[in-house]
Subunit: 202 residues, 2 copies
């Protein structure tokens, strides 16, 4: 399978981290595809008209996205413990956490773009800050439960979102006021799958 | 179950349309919750720190989002034909279509916000136009297959995205060059579930 990939995309990282956790990395032929919100990539548009990565191309040529759908698809291709829980209550908890992590990440990407505009809108900037604070408060409250749950898609989404915060928003000093989720993240980044997929500037 | 709801949110409409299709409308206690990208709603933030609707509150008080997760949850609560296919190939096709419809809708919301800024960025505006054209070209190519597939979550996402285009972007005259998907949408909007959830300005 071909994966439209980039080394610093946090949503691509979700898929790569998932593939490392499930032993599927060798099944993915990573194809470097550069995208930016304001620069549609003409090569990607036929596979994904929304111009987003990751986009997976199955062996029959059909495309699959977004990152959650790709991860869920990959979860059917390995024989290890499933990262999408099969028990209903655990499944909905995991999907809820995945939506929080992905939504936080979406917001951080918009926030970063806003900061880089020639005319950043203060109303957007302050709304992003409010949502970030509310998200961290929520994660701090849920940190014990997160740590007590078998590792899965919810952990991956939240870990990738918080790691992206450290990568692109080092000015947000969120750790002192959120010690539990900070401790959880410290364990997350030590996983071999996290180390293998860490974003680096350059 | 309580649903953070608004009559003109296209993502809320997805959930309501889904509830109409599956006979679950009476199970949802709709609570009007006004959100805007630049105006976080303090009442919603504890349930959803990303400040987005729809957000479902289950009877045990736990929140569930985003719209896809809510729809999939609702699909387990009725005895009729499932709108998330159970056969794997049909499931991935439906999820792929759902991602395209939802991604198109996300993009349209950003595009509308961009148009309303005091300093719209021409690079964003033109990128949105490129992605819109690519999405419509993709949908036109897939229209026959879409029409031939049993109605489900993919159809709902695409139908809500295209209906939102008509509602908020009446200037985009996409029908003449995309007759097949236009014909499909003409059937979609006639469904009782679509009529019952149609967005109206005012």
């Amino acid at each position: 399978m071909k994966l439209h990939w980039s080394p610093r995309s946090p949503f691509v990282r979700k898929v790569m981290l998932f593939a490392h956790e499930t032993g599927l990395v060798d099944k993915l032929e990573c194809h470097r595809t550069v995208v930016a919100m304001t620069k549609p990539n003409a090569e990607l548009l036929p596979d994904n008209p929304l111009n987003k990565i990751p986009t997976l191309i199955l062996d029959d040529g059909s495309p699959l996205y977004d990152s959650v759908v790709i991860c869920q698809y990959l979860d059917g291709l390995h024989a290890g413990p499933k990262l999408f829980p099969t028990e209903p209550k655990a499944y909905w908890t995991a999907m809820q956490r995945c939506s929080l992590g992905d939504g936080l990440l979406d917001m951080l990407l918009l926030w970063r773009n806003e900061r880089e505009r020639s005319h950043p809108d203060p109303a957007y900037l302050s709304a992003y800050a409010v949502k970030f604070d509310a998200s961290l408060a929520n994660l701090e409250k849920e940190a014990d439960a997160l740590a007590a749950t078998p590792f899965g898609i919810g952990h991956i989404a939240i870990g990738c979102a918080l790691s992206y915060t450290d990568f692109r928003f080092p000015d947000l000093a969120w750790r002192p006021s959120h010690p539990k989720i900070a401790a959880w993240l410290a364990d997350f980044v030590k996983r071999p799958s996290a180390k293998a997929t860490e974003a680096r500037d350059g």
